[in-house]
Symmetry: C2
Subunit: 407 residues, 2 copies
């Protein structure tokens, strides 16, 4: 028989895929309260609207739904997306939108289009693990800059780029999640957004803006996206690629998202999609079109915001109670999204704590999974959107007991 | 603005995606009869069964359908696939099956798992353009061997491998479509299948077996797949990766397929899928499970076979009438599948003929798109599954007029 381990592509030999998936595998005990996944709550799912939309599209369009369809996406969905983004002061032609098979797909298409082995990708420390995994398949070098409470440390980022320039290295792109970042929940301030674009203009480095949670803001004012700022500041833009998904605003199960950017880049990603999967299924796209055009999106967002805001408030309140000031436990206070970031005493390795937590029937994602290089060990990513309120309270209690016994 | 053309990954700079898609773009005149696409006929679609299955799964399982699901695939579909392949003397554990988001996805996962830049891939001349495009993204070197009327020329293939070995080059894998090959419709004989496996064993070169049409046989005896022969001849197998899709046996629109192979390879492809798209949508998988377990698959195949067999017979008969022996036009006579391969006089360039054919309101795919290297110019790929019978007859008439005027 073939020795397959010798057959793999060089860069794939040691590629292990998505670490969070491996973490979730340990959660077999149904009594475990999981704060680990990135799952939206099924309480927010519009199930009756989903069934009605499904029946309608299968009644009228089943032959087209069962057939191959256009690889860049259904025109009706592209148009609905263009309309949807107008709310956000983004102005697009059809040639600037590619329907993807999820945000993960959008990230992978980005990595495949842009990255050669050894190319430098600038990321926050920490940053979204799914982006790291997608880009990792192209074997780039991640260079990270510690994130601040108001987002990317643009001053250090600029110094880093200057330093790399002295070594004759120009980073291929900057990857950021400006709104309610995964894993920290941190939002980038307006001045930093403008400063980041200035860096992009000064050094000709594109920005990849990942926006999965942008509409899930529970506190404070919505800030303009990097994409819209680029369009405003720079004659229609052209330096930012936007990666979006329906997963967090409608549902993850349909696996539909969209990338936006300059027509040439969208064309290149479309060509890659042709070799990768051909079309995104029309049924799944038509369901998203129905979501955007026939269901009441703003009312849905309001419900989601009210629902998640309460959960977040309860979680933060319970943390205050069980982790007092002298506990050496600190956490971010997100204005939206699904996650927050808990920091323990320096010496605590949360990858080890994780197994202790499992014994206490509570789970989180060890923070080390969110670093492109040189991981910090003493953080936990906490998801507060999926578990019920009583579960959230109980989870904090269990975490508290577990951490006390472990430290 | 960023100069994006300088930002692309080296191997992507000149990557143009799927050539057939570009061909189809010219078919804007609704009067054109297209023999170009690879579309199954909507006449074979089980629309009422589709609607009923959809209603049932949305009634019982909507919360799971709207949520993230397991990346390797739904266990129910994996089990249904294992059961389905038992008909074909293939015996699999769950760890040997990965649900994919279509056959194209299965090919891309294969290329990404196995190919480094410059690796040699052995292919038939001609071979499936979609596989060439998927593999091309890893920048391999295609080495082709002219196909014979009974499939891959295994004698010349072996000589080619011997020659490459002298140059210290071992091909990474052999890619074949043994049943009703796309684009030629040619089927590989049993002795050749065994000989191909012997080559795989002797030189330790894996075989990628692409089987999209296997169940669509209209004439002659079903031959064992390479995968099943490998399992039979070699203690359970391990040299063949099988790439399958529901596109041609159920419908393309759902974008679901499956790869089968040794557990280690399936695990590696699963890891790549994690970084690429996460899970295949559960709704689309559950529909395929319903197809395999609740609809009558064998009766459906019988209907498809009867329907396509008639179309093929009519097409061949009309070709006989309009392209007599002295016309310098020859064609393959497939035993199944969706395609046949027409060869014109040596000097005819079908890429040019294509534009003449468009004027005559008939379309095909120029044969040059089906070569990994050194394309032959005087062939056409003909799809006989999609157009209606009167259209097929009219298409042959138009082709005949067009070729006579062009030559």
């Amino acid at each position: 028989m073939i020795d397959w381990t010798n057959q793999y592509a060089q860069e794939m030999k040691h590629f292990k895929g998505y670490p969070i998936g491996k973490t979730l595998k340990y959660l077999t005990d149904p009594e475990i309260i999981s704060l680990a996944g990135g799952l939206p709550s099924p309480q927010t799912f519009q199930t009756s609207e989903f069934r009605a939309a499904s029946e309608k599209i299968l009644k009228h369009d089943i032959d087209k739904i069962m057939q191959y369809s256009a690889i860049p996406g259904e025109e009706s969905l592209v148009d609905a997306v263009i309309q949807f983004l107008k709310r956000d002061n983004i102005s697009l032609d059809r040639q600037q939108v590619l329907i993807t098979t999820s945000g993960q797909h959008g990230l992978d298409l980005t990595g495949r289009a842009l990255l050669d082995k050894g190319d430098i990708v600038l990321v926050d420390r920490p940053t979204f693990a799914g982006a790291l995994v997608a880009f990792q398949m192209e074997a780039p070098r991640f260079v990270g800059v510690d994130i601040e409470p108001d987002g990317t440390n643009v001053a250090v980022l600029e110094q880093t780029i200057q330093q790399l320039k002295l070594e004759n290295k120009i980073p291929k792109f900057i990857y950021v999640v400006p709104d309610f970042q995964n894993p920290t929940g941190i939002t980038m301030g307006l001045e930093k957004r403008k400063a980041l674009l200035k860096i992009s203009y000064a050094f000709h480095i594109p920005i990849i803006e990942d926006s999965p949670y942008r509409d899930l803001r529970y506190h404070g004012q919505t800030l303009p996206s990097l994409f819209s700022l680029d369009q405003e500041l720079y004659e229609g833009g052209g330096n930012v690629i936007g990666v979006y998904t329906f997963s967090k605003i409608f549902c993850p199960g349909l696996r539909v998202g969209f990338n936006i950017g300059p027509p040439d880049v969208i064309q290149k990603m479309t060509n890659i999609k042709e070799g990768n999967i051909l079309n995104t299924p029309k049924y799944n796209q038509d369901m998203c079109t129905a979501y955007l055009t026939e269901m009441d999106v703003e009312a849905h967002f309001d419900r989601c915001r009210a629902y998640y805001q309460e959960k977040l408030a309860l979680f933060l309140e319970t943390m205050e109670t069980y982790f007092p000031d002298n506990s050496h436990v600190t956490w971010t206070i997100p204005q939206g999204g699904l996650f927050l970031w808990v920091t323990l005493a320096d010496h605590v390795d949360t990858a080890k704590l994780f197994f202790e937590a499992i014994k206490h029937q509570v789970a989180f994602v060890p923070g080390e999974q969110f670093y492109g290089e040189n991981p910090e060990k003493n953080h936990m990513r906490i998801n507060f959107s999926f578990s019920t309120k009583p579960q959230l309270v109980e989870a904090v209690k269990r975490l508290s007991t577990c951490i006390k016994s472990f430290v």
